[in-house]
């Protein structure tokens, strides 16, 4: 095996302990490996090592026809497969100048926001695990996430890798009664989110474990390329849905959630409040859902003109973008993914050094990396 990045053992100070957290560890969110240098319980240095889930996605994509890449994107951020489908299809549509039907735009917004709710619910649950509400938090949030997964199952037949959004449209129209089911589900989730606030936000131990921990200053957040809840937690009103609106997000009325403090609690609060905003967007979109065709006519063989496109969306984890270069053949010449989880993970050492081990774990949970996306 190739030697991993060298950890400077010569630099280890007197009385220091170097500990390997991962890649098999109960709370490294998959297969992250952290080399941490400890002074007692205090973390002096953190070195994240990634690549344990690398599948060569970008290279595989170069050898596949354009439509065959959509199911691959499901496997990127496996907690929000819809967003990945969306960013890829949107990139190809921009590349080929395909105009999407009105109904499809609305359905895309609905599924994307439902996906955001599901993903944030999972994040809150995992975060609960990390600060030590072992299993309870996760079981609760997964109960509600299940409602959305069931909805997606009726849409696409899959519960994790949906492959629902396709180039030029969707897999198929909404099933009968879908709108009603969505309304019922989000009503339940809206009530339960209040319960989570009672369960977490009002818990003294939870507050003490998260407030003032892993503080990310706005300047660092911008310099290190943070996006999504991590950036908004530090106080910048930045959201691709507003700053660079895609599909029809400019038609809805909602707020960008920001927090000032930039600590773990702020990032957790962003998740909770964004679930509420997403619920509001889904309601508005369902209200305005027009009738009509789903798929527009696209060529049988997708062969974009030579050119390049950089297309981005706001995934639950931040700015997810794809850069596709076409050389006029049915396969992309190059496909590059800008994954928010990867960029956000890179600032872990900045905000977790000089904290305790418990803080390191809580901070990692609040950044919420998904390794399908970090390693690609």
């Amino acid at each position: 095996m190739m030697p991993l990045r060298k950890f400077e053992y010569e630099e280890i100070g007197e009385g220091r302990l170097v500990i390997n957290l991962g890649p098999q560890h109960p709370s490294t969110h998959g297969v992250l490996r952290l080399i941490a240098e400890l002074d007692g319980e205090r973390v002096k240095k953190v070195l994240p090592i990634i690549g344990y889930l690398h599948r060569g996605f970008e290279k595989i994509a170069e050898n596949r026809n354009y439509p065959m890449i959509v199911p691959l994107t499901d496997r990127l951020d496996y907690l929000s497969a819809m967003s990945n489908n969306m960013v890829y299809c949107q990139a190809i549509e921009e590349l080929m100048n395909i105009k999407i039907s009105e109904r499809t735009e609305y359905i895309r917004v609905i599924v994307l926001e439902l996906q955001r709710i599901a993903s944030h619910l999972a994040s809150v649950g995992f975060f609960g695990n990390d600060v030590g509400v072992t299993f309870t938090a996760m079981m609760y949030t997964f109960r509600e996430r299940e409602l959305i997964i069931n909805l997606f199952e009726t849409l696409s037949g899959a519960r994790l890798t949906y492959n629902y959004i396709r180039i030029g449209g969707l897999r198929e129209d909404l099933p009968k009664g879908f709108e009603n089911n969505v309304l019922q589900s989000i009503d339940i989730i809206e009530k339960k989110v209040d319960e989570y606030e009672e369960f977490f936000s009002e818990n003294e131990i939870f507050r003490r474990r998260t407030q003032g921990i892993g503080v990310l200053k706005l300047k660092d957040a911008i310099n290190l390329g943070a996006t999504g809840p991590v950036l908004r937690g530090s106080g910048l009103k930045s959201d691709v849905r507003v700053t660079d609106p895609y599909t029809i997000y400019d038609r809805f009325d909602w707020d960008i959630i920001t927090e000032k403090k930039g600590d773990c609690f702020a990032r957790y609060n962003i998740w909770i409040n964004e679930i509420r905003q997403s619920i509001s967007i889904v309601r508005q979109a369902l209200n305005g859902l027009p009738k009509g065709e789903i798929n527009v006519k696209i060529p049988r063989v997708i062969k974009p003109e030579p050119g390049e496109v950089y297309s981005k969306i706001e995934s639950p984890r931040g700015e997810l973008a794809m850069n596709v270069i076409s050389d006029g053949t049915p396969k992309p010449y190059r496909l590059k993914i800008r994954s928010p989880a990867f960029c956000n993970l890179s600032l872990l050492p900045t905000i977790s050094e000089e904290g305790l081990i418990a803080d390191l774990i809580a901070t990692l949970g609040s950044i919420d990396p998904v390794f399908g996306e970090v390693d690609r």
Binding site: P26, G132, T134, R208, I357, A358
Partner: protein, 328 residues
């Protein structure tokens, strides 16, 4: 039958009484652990929106037996780099020490193996020895997670032992005796939870720390240091350490009941039943807490121990002493 009853005479012999009582207690504790673990798994399962064990036996009641067989038949792994003697001794000592304090626990006025005149001191002394096997288990496997867990256990012990002892002083001042039987007898009119409210709070927090469960399960802290001081132990060794841990929880609940909740006192039902019911309720609260609160951090825990619990216990002692002098 009469012959069997006549054998009870021999119980007046301390040697016989100790042997019979010791074996009886060990069996009773083992049996109650089987039951309590089942209750805990069911109860926490329900709290966590799942069923808990429900496959083996009626309502999954035999699940623990199956788990026990699994742990017994597992390969017994001793790490190469381990200090093998200490590694093997740690579970045995931990298991044995955990049973000791029960010898001085009264289940009724007469149901006590040994009514020591310094019973409470004996219990405190023996239960603080439990940190020795924990440290052995933390040090011997030569694993960093074990080491961190063992060190945390030691830090935890220091911060709960002191306030616990101080909280007990208030009770002892009220009874004028350190005998466990006398302490319960003194609560016939009023449970000590009322005159010793402050001491009760301090003692409960300290006792929950002794139980080393969430929110104080720092020595294990699954999400931080994998499995803490038991990381490298597998099979039967792990089961023994787990059992010892569980016995500490039971002891903590029993002490809360005996010192503050009136021990065996209660209407209608016989004395031992009352003490068991009360202990069970305290255990349920322990389980409930485990499923609802996050884990505290090590520095927060030490702060609570030294900066909050100890001063509170001191105030309690001063208050109790003053009240005794004034009220006679």
């Amino acid at each position: 039958m009469e012959y069997l009853l006549s054998l009870l005479v021999y119980l007046s012999n301390p040697w016989v009484k100790g042997l019979v009582g010791g074996i009886g207690l060990a069996l009773a504790i083992a049996g109650s652990i089987v039951l309590l673990l089942w209750v805990e798994r069911k109860f926490i399962g329900r709290l966590q929106h799942r069923y808990g064990p429900n496959r083996v036996g009626k309502f999954g009641i035999l699940q623990l037996v199956v788990d026990g067989i699994k742990l017994l038949t597992k390969e017994d792994i001793i790490p190469d780099a381990a200090d093998k003697t200490v590694f093997k001794l740690a579970p045995i000592i931990g298991f044995a020490i955990a049973f000791l304090p029960f010898l001085a626990i009264p289940f009724s006025e007469t149901m006590i193996v040994s009514d020591l005149n310094v019973g409470i001191l004996f219990i405190l002394a023996v239960s603080s020895m439990a940190v020795v096997p924990t440290l052995m288990a933390g040090w011997s496997p030569n694993n960093k997670y074990n080491l961190l867990g063992g060190m945390r256990a030691a830090a935890l012990m220091i911060s709960y032992e002191v306030p616990m002892g101080l909280a007990i002083i208030g009770v002892v001042m009220l009874t004028d005796s350190m005998s466990m039987v006398e302490i319960v007898k003194a609560q016939e009119k009023i449970w000590f939870i009322f005159p010793q409210a402050l001491g009760f709070v301090v003692f409960v927090v300290a006792a929950f720390m002794e139980a080393a469960r969430l929110p104080f399960d720092l020595p294990e802290a699954e999400s931080e240091i994998v499995q803490g001081w038991t990381t490298e132990f597998s099979g039967m060794k792990f089961a023994m350490l787990l059992f010892a841990e569980y016995i500490h929880s039971i002891l903590a609940s029993l002490l809360i009941v005996i010192l503050f909740l009136g021990g065996w006192h209660g209407p209608i039902l016989p004395a031992p039943i009352w003490i068991l019911i009360k202990t069970f309720i305290v255990m349920l609260i322990l389980m409930w807490m485990r499923a609802t609160v996050p884990r505290v951090r090590i520095d927060q825990l030490l702060n609570v121990g030294w900066k909050v619990l100890i001063p509170l216990a001191m105030i309690n002692i001063a208050f109790t002493g003053t009240a005794r002098v004034i009220l006679g």
